[in-house]
Each structure stands twice: as structure tokens, then as C-alpha cells.
């Protein structure tokens, strides 16, 4: 097990390096360069040249990259161009807010998706199965930004049940209850599509397992249905389900970006969007790096959990998944 973990960790190193290169290159994809943004439209070319030298932008890219990486490794993402604050100070608290939203949504999505999928598989082709599979098919194709607006329309504007924007009330807000009230709608929106996809996948992998011969043998031996489902089927269906849950987290994080914008949730997606609108490259880079790091960590955890559940993976010691 330890060997597996170490093996996976080693494969992560080059990925981390690559991710940093991609994020570094991002800044150079932008039209014009930073000096245009910093000095404004009326600056002369000479002024820009001075600034370029001061920032080290005249040096070759690899040199710039190493310099940049040095700073990043010390947690220094540079100053936000839009509001002149250290990027790291700006994005870390936002990251926490995003983590809250993402984790709660993931919990919603996995629990609901898992049970709907299990019930649908246990009673395949029943009324419940057909209804839930149609609903999940539609939800799985629903854009999160549109679903969010519909939910706002119903729950906030028409029925006035829950707040539509922000994380706490402006006037005597704060406290866990207030945050939870603000969390419900964005979390539901974020969770909808992943829950739907998880439900479909859980159903499919359960049905696959249930058609195996050893399940037929178990049934022939007279083992009760519930026990077969729990002991024989679920246990074997778990590794693919965990993999799917991990993959869905990427989709979920993507959804979070949209949902934060819609619900004005003060998270990293919202910050990223504001950074994009303000052409604030350091903020964009910082936010992207943080989300990518979180995503890599999650994928790593999924692999470890899977190795724990499935000896076949564990014993292939650290060989890449696929």
C-alpha cells in the first residue's frame, strides 16, 4: 500500500512541473503584455520598455519561468493588478469558501446519486428506475448556469424561500445558520448534474455486476436479495464507482465556477471571473494554480482509496491508472 502511494506521488511530480509551465504560459497567451495593463493606454513605448526591464520581461522565457517559479514556491503569486493586493491574500480565503461549496455539493451529489443509482439497479426497469433515469438524463445535460437561474427564479424570486446571492446577509448576517441558508441553492445547482451522472453510472456498474455468474450462484444458494446486493454486488461495484466519483469532481469543480458567478458566492471561481474581466493575470494564475492543485490532490486521493478497495490495483504498485 505504501509502495503504491509513493509510486503515485512520484508520477505527480512531473505533472506539477507541467502544470506550473502551463500556468506560466497563460500569461503570455494574453494579447499585448502586462506593461500595457499596468501603464494604461496613454503610456509611451519608452515607459513601457523601462517597466519591462524592471519586471524582467526582456529576459528569455526560461529565465523568467525559473524566477516566477521561485516566487510561486514561496507562496508569492505577485500583486493583483486590479486591486493592488497580494494575490495569495486575495485567493486563499476565497479558496476556503469554494471548498465549502464544493464539498457540500459533492456530498449531496454522491449521496443522492449513489442511492438513486442503487435503488434503480435493484429494481431495474421498474417505474422508479424509468422515472429516475429520465430525470437524471435531463439533469446531466442541463447547463449549471441555466439551472442556477431557474432555481433562483423559483426559490428566491417567486417563493422567497432562500437568498439568491452572497454567502452571508449584509445586515446582521454571519453565523453558521446564515451561511447554510445561503449555501442551499448554489450547492443544489452544483450538485444536480454530477448527482445525475453518478446515479446513472452507479446503476450501470451495479447492473453489470448483478449479471455476473457469482451473483447467480449466490441467488441459487438462496442468499437473500439484500445480502447479495450489499455483500456481493456493492463490494465489487465500488472501485469503478469511486473512479467515477473522482472524475465527476472535475465536472463539479467546473460547475462551481459558473455557480459562484450566478450566486455571487465569494469563491475562487468568482474571483477568477473578476480577474478575467479585469485582465488581472496574476490573480488568474493564482486561482488556476490553486484549483489545479486541489484537483490533483483529489485525483490522488481517489487512486489511493481505490487501491485500498481493490487489491488488483494495489498490487500493480503505482503503475498509472488507465
Amino acid at each position: 500500500m505504501l509502495r503504491f502511494i509513493v509510486g503515485r506521488l512520484i508520477t505527480i511530480l512531473p505533472v506539477l512541473f507541467g502544470v506550473s509551465v502551463v500556468i506560466f504560459i497563460l500569461a503570455h497567451l494574453a494579447p499585448g503584455d502586462v506593461t500595457t495593463v499596468l501603464t494604461g493606454p496613454f503610456a509611451t513605448e519608452a515607459t513601457r520598455e523601462v517597466l519591462r526591464q524592471a519586471l524582467g520581461l526582456d529576459r528569455p522565457l526560461p529565465v523568467q519561468y525559473i524566477k516566477w517559479l521561485e516566487h510561486i514556491l514561496q507562496g508569492d503569486f505577485g500583486k493583483s493588478i486590479a486591486n493592488r493586493r497580494e494575490v495569495i491574500e486575495l485567493i486563499l480565503p476565497k479558496f476556503l469558501n469554494t471548498a465549502i461549496l464544493a464539498l457540500v455539493s459533492a456530498f449531496f451529489a454522491y449521496v443522492v446519486g449513489f442511492f438513486v443509482g442503487m435503488f434503480a439497479a435493484a429494481r431495474a426497469h421498474s417505474f422508479f428506475d424509468r422515472i429516475s433515469m429520465s430525470v437524471t438524463l435531463i439533469l446531466g445535460n442541463t447547463p449549471p448556469y441555466w439551472l442556477g437561474l431557474l432555481i433562483v427564479l423559483l426559490f428566491s424570486l417567486n417563493w422567497r424561500l432562500l437568498p439568491a446571492t452572497g454567502m452571508v446577509n449584509m445586515i446582521d448576517g454571519g453565523g453558521p445558520v446564515d451561511v447554510i441558508r445561503h449555501l442551499v441553492l448554489p450547492a443544489l445547482t452544483t450538485a444536480a448534474a454530477p448527482a445525475a451522472i453518478v446515479a446513472r453510472m452507479v446503476r450501470a456498474s451495479m447492473l453489470e455486476i448483478l449479471s455476473q455468474n457469482y451473483v447467480k450462484v449466490a441467488r441459487a444458494k438462496g442468499i437473500p436479495r439484500r445480502k447479495i446486493l450489499r455483500r456481493h454486488a456493492l463490494r465489487n461495484a465500488l472501485p469503478p464507482i469511486v473512479t467515477i466519483c473522482g472524475l465527476q469532481l472535475g465536472y463539479l469543480l467546473g460547475g462551481v465556477l459558473f455557480v459562484e458567478v450566478i450566486f455571487a458566492w465569494p469563491g475562487i471561481g468568482n474571483q477568477l471571473w473578476q480577474g478575467i474581466i479585469a485582465r488581472d493575470i496574476p490573480t488568474i494564475q493564482g486561482a488556476t494554480l490553486l484549483v489545479a492543485l486541489a484537483f490533483i490532490f483529489v485525483n490522488f486521493s481517489v487512486d489511493v482509496i481505490n487501491a485500498f478497495l481493490d487489491p488488483k490495483i494495489r498490487l500493480s504498485e503505482g503503475v498509472r491508472r488507465q
Binding site: P14, V15, G18, V19, V21, V22, L26, A27, L29, A30, P31, L137, I138, N141, T142, P143, P144, Y145, W146, L147, L149, L150, V152, L153, L157, A204, G250, Y251, L253, G254, G255, L257, F258, V261, I262, L272, W273, G275, I276, I277, R279, I281, I284, T288, V291, A292, F295, I296, N299, Q322
Partner: protein, 315 residues
């Protein structure tokens, strides 16, 4: 099954140099008939799935309306033709008017051009690139494979939507940017499928037989590896088109895609956002269209899977 027969007919056509031109012509005709028959069988298998058939019809209608938007849309999509936020069926507009009094139906037709382009364009581009990368990686193997797949691993480390948003975000907004951004973010997913399929096919005995018969690398890639790729990649790509349309419209929704006053289903949702309470129809309709078209691509993908791979069970 088709690769088997084509290898037989290839052998026959190699011999054809020595037989009369008439026989060669006959062989070619037989081969053509065989392909026609395969296509027919595939179509029957596809048409048996009523959902897939319905989805195809729906997609054809949507595509027709989008392509011929200048001729079929009742009004100019950029011009105010009715009262602001006029509800559906009022003032002669079936779907009502948006926040600027423009006809929503016409804007849906025009927006369909961009939405479909943003769904199909990146998927197509990513598929072409991934086919090349994946086949090379899977067939050549060794360090070439390592390099290509490690680079793909790096792109995998970003959630797809994040990568697309960020790439589109730092470049100048526009349809081209959106297509490029999504294509880059999507390529690793298809490349991985292509690589796995290539590696599976590579181990088949008929590849060994072909090599023993003197087929070169190019011949093997073109005649055996590539045909085996068509079914899985086409099915995967079709399903992805719907998803990429959702993502692409999302980028437009964030203001990274097509710029006003041009219409796109995503920007239409965004424009409706401000008047959600007063004019919910301005938000609801474009979103519904996105959902329906995305669903259609799902069904078409399912149907294609049944048609192209008889072994795959239909769910």
C-alpha cells in the same frame, strides 16, 4: 468485421494486376456493394432505436433552422421589433421579446449557428488532433508514447471547464477563442481513448498477419488501425458535442465568447439574467434549447453505438 473483409478484398485487388480489367472492376463493385450493405445494416440498427431516430430528426431541423436563419427567422435578430420583455404570443412574437425588444425566436435561430459551431467545432478539431497523437502514441510506443501521454496528463490535471475558461479568458473574446480553448481542454480525453484502442488493435493477430504479408507501417495504420478507431471515436465525440455545447454556451454566458449584439444561446441566457423576474421567458427558452440539443446528441451517440458496434449492449 469490415476490416476482415477489406483485407481479403485487398489481397484480391493485389492479384488484380494479373487478372483482366473486367475482373478488377467486378471486385471493386463487390467491395462497394459490401460497404453499402454494411452501411444499410448500421442504419437499420440505428433506426431501430426510436429515441436516436427522433433525436436525429430534431437535430436536422435545428441545424436547418440555424443554417438558413437569414431566410427562416421572422425578424432581424438585432433589431427591436416589439415592446421590451414582451411575453410570448403577445405582439405577434411566438416566444416573446427580450430585454431590448428583439424577437427571441429569431435570435434562437441565429444563435443556433454559433452554439452548434461551438459544440461541433472544438470536438471536431480535438478529435482530429487526438487521432494523430493517440495513434502515434499507441502504435509507436516507447518514449514517443511517454512524451505525448505525459503532456496529456498535465492537461488532465486541470478540470476541463477551468482550463477552457482560463484559456479563453486570457485571450481576446470571440468564437474562435472559445473553439480553440475547448479544443485544447478536450483533446486529452479523446487522445486517451484513441491510444487505448490503438494498443488493443495492435495486438490483434490480423495486424501480425498483415505485417508478415509485407504491409508497411503506413498501410497498417491506414487500413487496419484507423478503421477500428471510427466506431469508438465517433460515438464518444458525438456524445461530447452536446456537452461541449453546454460548456461553450457557458463561456459565452461569462462573456468570453461571441460579443453583443450577436446572439448565442449562452449570451441569451446571460442577457435574460437581469430581468429574470420580469421576463423569465428570455432566460428559459434559450436554456431549454441548449438542454434539448445536448440531449439529442446524447441519443444520437447511443444510437451510433448500437449501429457501429453490434457487440455493445444498448442500455
Amino acid at each position: 468485421m469490415s476490416d476482415h473483409t477489406s483485407s481479403v478484398s485487398r489481397k484480391a485487388s493485389n492479384d488484380a494486376g494479373r487478372v483482366s480489367a473486367a475482373t478488377a472492376w467486378q471486385i471493386r463493385r463487390e467491395r462497394f456493394r459490401f460497404h453499402l450493405r454494411t452501411l444499410k445494416l448500421a442504419w437499420y440498427a440505428y433506426a431501430k432505436d426510436k429515441a436516436a431516430l427522433g433525436a436525429l430528426v430534431f437535430f436536422v431541423i435545428v441545424a436547418f433552422l440555424a443554417i438558413f436563419a437569414p431566410y427562416v427567422s421572422p425578424y432581424d435578430p438585432a433589431e427591436a421589433v416589439a415592446g421590451i420583455n414582451s411575453p410570448p404570443f403577445a405582439e405577434g412574437l411566438i416566444l416573446g421579446a427580450d430585454v431590448d425588444g428583439r424577437d427571441i425566436l429569431s435570435r434562437l435561430f441565429w444563435g443556433g449557428r454559433i452554439a452548434l459551431l461551438v459544440g461541433i467545432g472544438p470536438t471536431f478539431a480535438a478529435t482530429v488532433v487526438s487521432l494523430m497523437l493517440g495513434i502515434v502514441a499507441g502504435y509507436v510506443g516507447g518514449w514517443v508514447d511517454q512524451v505525448i501521454m505525459r503532456v496529456m496528463d498535465i492537461l488532465f490535471a486541470f478540470p476541463l471547464v477551468l482550463l477552457a475558461i482560463v484559456i479563453a479568458g486570457v485571450m481576446n473574446p470571440g468564437v474562435g477563442t472559445v473553439i480553440l480553448a475547448i479544443a485544447i481542454a478536450l483533446a486529452p480525453y479523446i487522445a486517451r481513448l484513441v491510444r487505448t484502442t490503438t494498443m488493443n488493435v495492435k495486438q490483434q493477430p490480423y495486424i501480425e498477419a498483415a505485417r508478415a504479408a509485407g504491409a508497411g507501417t503506413t498501410a497498417i495504420l491506414v487500413r487496419y488501425i484507423f478503421p477500428n478507431m471510427v466506431a469508438p471515436v465517433l460515438v464518444y465525440a458525438t456524445t461530447l458535442i452536446g456537452l461541449m455545447m453546454v460548456v461553450g454556451s457557458g463561456l459565452s454566458f461569462l462573456g468570453l465568447g461571441v460579443q453583443p449584439p450577436d446572439a448565442d444561446w449562452g449570451t441569451m441566457v446571460a442577457e435574460g439574467r437581469g430581468v429574470l423576474r420580469k421576463a423569465p421567458h428570455a432566460t428559459v427558452f434559450p436554456g431549454l434549447v441548449i438542454v434539448f440539443v445536448s440531449l439529442a446528441f446524447n441519443f444520437i451517440g447511443d444510437g451510433l453505438r448500437d449501429a457501429l458496434d453490434p457487440r455493445a449492449r444498448s442500455r
